[in-house]
């Protein structure tokens, strides 16, 4: 049997200001849908005397779509995002990603902000307390060695959120609120390549919304996982394809599940009349070179590297 939940105080603010004040208390951590956090609490992976439930904040769960772009509140549930027909029509990759995160039971509670800040995952981390203790814990939490790369000095746990790459191909901007006020940050800059310190958010800061410019791009997201529902991605790829000058096609590509952060991978444009086969072969090579899957899942890194590149090729062929 699993361990009972540790003791904590749950605060349920109704406004953003109340939430920020609550998060300023020592040891306070934010909780959105809790679909991942509660599991981690159960496994003794969260040291939080105070949890701040963000699900009741007024105005936190709105989707605003206009000709100027799209703003998605951090409190929007994944189910609501997947069901939004406007998002599906103009930002297909976001719809694709939201629709396949975890299972339907999770998506009803899990939120956009929660998925963007999803804790990184590893075979040596997402385990019970006694399992981790018998392995002397690990670098990510309570230990001093990374069992995935014992000679390295950083945690290799994989970022596994599906929404981040789907938003990054549209150059999403994260709106962040914290004790020092509000700021905007390109979503790609919200992440570090360090599994134990994967967010660049300061203590007490939370994502309020993500803002995307208007787009004419065709886009898609796809991933592989062991089980067709509930599981986290072994690799996930988002691509947005735009018409560029002179009939060329310009691709934006982002990957999740392979590194400690979601990666944007630069791809040269496909010129008008260019060789699509050669372009896709180059694309596959670029993805294989950029990603760095580690032994963080039961599935071998080499397979995940090939899977990421194969997903990229498939999506590119569909969109070009």
């Amino acid at each position: 049997m699993s361990e009972p939940l540790p003791d904590f105080r749950l605060l349920r603010p109704e406004t953003l200001d109340q939430a920020l004040a609550a998060l300023a208390e020592p040891g306070a951590k934010p909780m959105a849908g809790g679909t991942d956090l509660v599991v981690n609490l159960r496994r003794g992976l969260v040291d939080a005397p105070i949890l701040v439930d963000l699900s009741g904040i007024a105005g936190f769960a709105t989707i605003e779509l206009s000709d100027d772009g799209l703003t998605i509140g951090a409190g929007v549930t994944l189910a609501a995002l997947a069901a939004d027909v406007g998002v599906a029509a103009r930002y297909q990759a976001i719809h694709d990603a939201a629709e396949v995160i975890a299972g339907p039971g999770h998506r009803a509670a899990a939120t956009v902000g929660g998925n963007l800040c999803l804790d990184t995952r590893c075979l040596y981390y997402n385990q019970s307390h006694w399992w981790r203790k018998s392995n002397d814990f690990c670098l990510k939490y309570r230990g001093d060695t990374c069992h995935v790369a014992p000679k390295g000095n950083r945690c290799r746990a994989a970022f596994s959120g599906d929404l981040a790459p789907a938003l990054m191909v549209f150059d999403a901007i994260a709106e962040i609120a914290g004790p020092d006020g509000r700021r905007s940050l390109p979503l790609a800059e919200m992440y570090h390549e360090d599994g134990a310190d994967y967010l660049t958010l300061a203590p007490g800061e939370i994502v309020v919304s993500v803002r995307l410019p208007a787009t004419t791009a065709n886009s898609a997201y796809d991933k592989i996982r062991v089980r067709g529902a509930v599981d986290f991605p072994l690799a996930g790829v988002a691509i947005a394809c735009r018409d560029a000058e002179g009939g060329a096609r310009s691709l934006r590509l982002a990957v999740t599940g392979t590194n400690s952060m979601p990666l944007t991978i630069e791809i040269a444009d496909l010129p008008a009349g260019g060789d699509v086969d050669q372009f896709c072969a180059d694309l596959e090579k670029a993805v294989q070179k950029a990603v760095s899957p580690q032994r963080t899942t039961t599935i071998q890194p080499h397979y995940r590297r090939l899977a990421a590149s194969a997903l990229a090729r498939r999506l590119a062929r569909r969109l070009l």
Binding site: M1, S2, P4, L5, P6, D7, F8, R9, L10, R12, G34, T35, V38, V39, L41, R42, L51, D53, S55, A79, A102, G103, P104, G105, H106, A108, A109, G228, A229, V230
Partner: protein
């Protein structure tokens, strides 16, 4: 920390003292003695604990009871009315959609949530809606058939 939550469970008002760290599954099973929702994986992966929260099928084992203050909860115990099984319960019974029965309350509630907003789902939609629920007996074929039979009966 303790707190009082007020909610509706299977149509009845309830008001109870719980701890902030009480899970919905423990509240339902231990405090309300509603043991239909099962603890399987205890980590949101198997769906045996599925209940309806404001009409949405959600895993009770990863839901804090405190976040259900004011919510409407439905469990398998509240499905049959006056001793009469629902269309889904009958269909699972008559089409061998249930074997050992451990996953069945979760399966039925996930299917119930689906049929309430989609009375005529195709196979793919049923599979997606039951994606959070594991069954180790039936091989799923008869479960999907049961949902289709129930949907048909509810439409007629």
């Amino acid at each position: 920390m303790k707190r009082i939550i007020s909610l509706t469970i299977n149509g009845r008002k309830a008001e109870d003292a719980i701890s902030d760290n009480t899970l919905l599954i423990d509240y339902l099973r231990d405090q309300k003695h509603l043991t239909g929702a099962k603890k399987g994986c205890d980590g949101g992966e198997c769906g045996a604990c599925t209940v309806l929260i404001n009409g949405a099928a959600r895993p009770a084992c990863i839901t804090l009871a405190a976040t259900c203050d004011g919510a409407e909860i439905e469990t398998i115990e509240g499905q049959a009315r006056g001793g009469r099984l629902t269309a889904l319960q009958r269909a699972f019974h008559e089409n061998l959609g249930t074997q050992c029965g451990f996953c069945t309350p979760g399966m039925i509630l996930s299917a119930e949530a689906l049929l309430r907003h989609n009375p005529d789902p195709d196979d793919a939609e049923i599979r997606t809606a039951l994606g959070s629920n594991l069954c180790r007996c039936t091989g799923y074929t008869k479960i999907i058939a049961s949902v289709k039979v129930a949907a048909e009966e509810m439409r007629s």
